[in-house]
């Protein structure tokens, strides 16, 4: 067990930090949503990668196999993927409406418009 054998966890960390960075660093509303989707993808990897046991086979009971991979993470992640899709769809719908209301999808331009309207 060395650092290289944990490559799935390294990928998880990379995706999570990358996704969060995009959400924070980018002002474009659609790019923020993409960063959010990448962040959620890292969570899927976090659950599924440990579910495959070394030497484990598909989780269908048969006499010649003793070690089975864990099917539960897959079920959980199916649910999480659906939640992620719903969030992305909702976010994009909001961005479309914001575009129609403000004429732009850049966060700083929108905030400037709000500030000018308030003053």
């Amino acid at each position: 067990m060395n650092i290289a054998s944990h490559y799935s966890y390294w990928a998880t960390i990379f995706l999570a930090i990358g996704g969060l960075y995009i959400v924070i660093a980018r002002g474009n509303l659609v790019k923020k949503l993409i960063g959010l989707a990448i962040f959620q993808t890292s969570v899927y990897l976090l659950y599924i990668a440990p579910g495959k046991l070394i030497g484990g086979t598909a989780p269908i009971v048969a006499e010649q196999f003793q070690v089975y991979s864990n099917p539960l993470p897959h079920v959980l992640i199916l649910t999480a993927i659906v939640v992620g899709v719903a969030t992305l769809a909702l976010g994009l719908a909001l961005v479309v409406r914001i575009r129609e209301a403000y004429g732009s999808i850049e966060e700083d331009e929108i905030l400037t418009q709000d500030r000018d309207r308030a003053n």
Binding site: A16, L20, V23, L29, K32, L33, L36, F39, Q40, V43, L46, Y47, P50, L76, T79, A80, V83, A86, T87, L90, G91, L94, V95, R97, I98, A101, Y102, I110, D114
Partner: protein, 492 residues
């Protein structure tokens, strides 16, 4: 049928939601929403009756026995919270008719009520479930419908507020699910009770501590604990009035419950509060919330925004009670959950009445409204007194128990901080009193009529409850005390 109470609590609103989509008629959808809210209130009362006295209801979904299947586990804490959510829902549902007619386009009414039913189902589901991933699913159901409800506001800034809440809320929920995933990897189970049994063996490992950190940060985003509260002022200010009232009274309180459930029932209180400095961290953030949010509230021009910042401060009081980590502190926090739900719910309902008559509720537009809308203004004053913590209101009861808990620990300075921040509340409540009663109304304000009865009666019901439960504290303190006992019983 009584043995199915836990699942009925969730299924009734959940089935009502697609029915409302099929009905496609705003009025019929509203009637269904009222029916569903009142039914959930009846179910919540029945649940409370069954678990009072230390009872526990365990309901196996799909008849799969608990560690393998999803379990709905109702004890004094869950029943207390389900009661809060359904009481607010029952009151706000009646109020919604006129308010939604004024603020949401007509062709979207049935969709509004669908989202409301889904939000209610999600919040009640969080309250009764005993499975960690099921909790995440309901958390996301309630959050997604909340984003939609907020974005249906009249002002175009509601769209941006909904978007900002979506980003922050999804990050919070994803942090929560990372925490649950780490716990699952360490214990091999998702059932909260089973996790609690298996956790002592692995408590000091790094994944478990990381899980605690992730869950805390994730839930704090949903809780609007300072400094993760940035989504709250915009969301509450620009959402439709009924939505603000419903959310202010329920969404953050349910997140407090999730935090307590994980801290005490899963991790065992001692790991969190004694081995780690969680109490100090929560204390610092609570005090920051109480003072900074109250100060910012003083300088707002929009009344709804002012009370939204006040909500952040009041959530600081709740987490202050939690951080005191004793029976009295926990009771104080839980009592304030109930009391703040009543107070803020009532305040935002009354503000919605003003919004119905005027439009946006800005201080410069409501000068002299005390004469034109006497009942509404007086109700807001009473609610403000409850926020300050004047005796004979529910706010006083919460502050009393907070001070008691602080003095029990010998922390005089915390008690002093509670009293001082209440003085800040006096400042911003006085702003409303001064504008409403001591300014001359212009022509527009003088022509205003009082809010319609269907909106005034539910709001005043909550205000009357604020005063009643401030004088007769048996139910609230009894319920909170029983809940605190139940939580501490599971603590190690």
């Amino acid at each position: 049928m009584t043995s199915h109470l836990p699942i009925l609590q969730v299924v009734v609103p959940l089935i009502a939601a697609p029915l409302m989509v099929l009905l496609r008629h705003g009025g019929a959808a509203w009637l269904l929403a009222v029916g569903v809210s009142w039914t959930s209130l009846v179910v919540a009362l029945a649940l409370l009756a069954e678990v009072s006295g230390g009872g526990l209801i365990s309901y196996a979904l799909g008849n799969w026995p608990p560690p393998w299947g999803i379990e709905y586990r109702v004890d004094a804490v869950n029943a207390y919270l389900a009661l809060i959510v359904s009481v607010i829902a029952a009151v706000v549902a009646v109020y919604m008719r006129r308010s939604v007619e004024a603020e949401v386009p007509r062709e979207r009414h049935y969709l509004f009520y669908t989202m409301y039913a889904l939000c209610l189902a999600g919040l009640l589901g969080i309250s009764v479930t005993g499975d960690a991933f099921n909790l995440f699913v309901f958390l996301e159901i309630s959050s997604l419908s909340t984003y939609v409800l907020i974005a249906l506001g009249r002002d175009r800034r509601a769209l941006m507020a909904g978007y900002q809440y979506l980003i922050m809320g999804t990050i919070g929920a994803t942090f929560f699910v990372i925490g649950v995933g780490l716990l699952y990897l360490e214990t091999g189970t998702l059932n909260l009770a089973d996790m609690a049994a298996r956790l002592p063996r692995v408590t000091d490992t790094r994944p478990v501590l990381a899980a605690l950190a992730f869950i805390t940060v994730g839930i704090s985003l949903k809780l609007a604990l300072f400094p993760l509260h940035l989504w709250l002022p915009n969301a509450y200010a620009y959402a439709p009035s009924a939505v603000t009232a419903f959310l202010a009274a329920t969404a953050t309180k349910v997140s407090v419950y999730v935090l307590l459930r994980f801290y005490y029932s899963v991790f065992g209180g001692s790991t969190v509060f004694e081995a780690l400095p969680m109490a100090e961290i929560l204390l610092v953030f609570s005090l920051a919330a109480m003072f900074i949010a109250s100060t910012v509230a003083v300088f707002q021009n929009d009344v709804k925004r002012m009370f939204a910042y006040s909500s952040v401060a009041q959530i600081g009081y709740i987490t202050l009670g939690v951080s005191l980590a004793s029976a009295t502190g926990l009771t104080a926090g839980l009592v304030h959950v109930f009391n703040h739900a009543l107070t803020k719910g009532a305040l935002f309902l009354l503000l919605g009445g003003i919004a119905l008559r005027i439009g946006a509720v800005r201080f410069e537009a409501i000068g002299g409204i005390g004469r034109a809308m006497p009942f509404t203004s007086f109700g807001i004053v009473l609610g403000g007194l409850s926020l300050i913590g004047v005796p004979a209101t529910v706010g006083f009861v919460s502050k009393w128990y907070l001070v008691l808990a602080a003095l029990e620990r010998g922390a005089w300075w915390i008690a002093f901080a509670v009293v001082t921040s209440s003085l800040l509340a006096v400042v911003y409540v006085w702003r409303f009193v001064e504008v409403a009663y001591f300014r001359e109304p212009d022509a527009r304000v003088s022509a205003l009529r009082e809010a319609p009865a269907s909106m005034l009666v539910p709001a005043w019901l909550l205000i009357a409850a604020c005063v009643y439960f401030g004088l007769d504290t048996g139910i609230t303190v009894g319920g909170a005390g029983a809940a605190a006992m139940e939580l501490l019983r599971g603590a190690r």
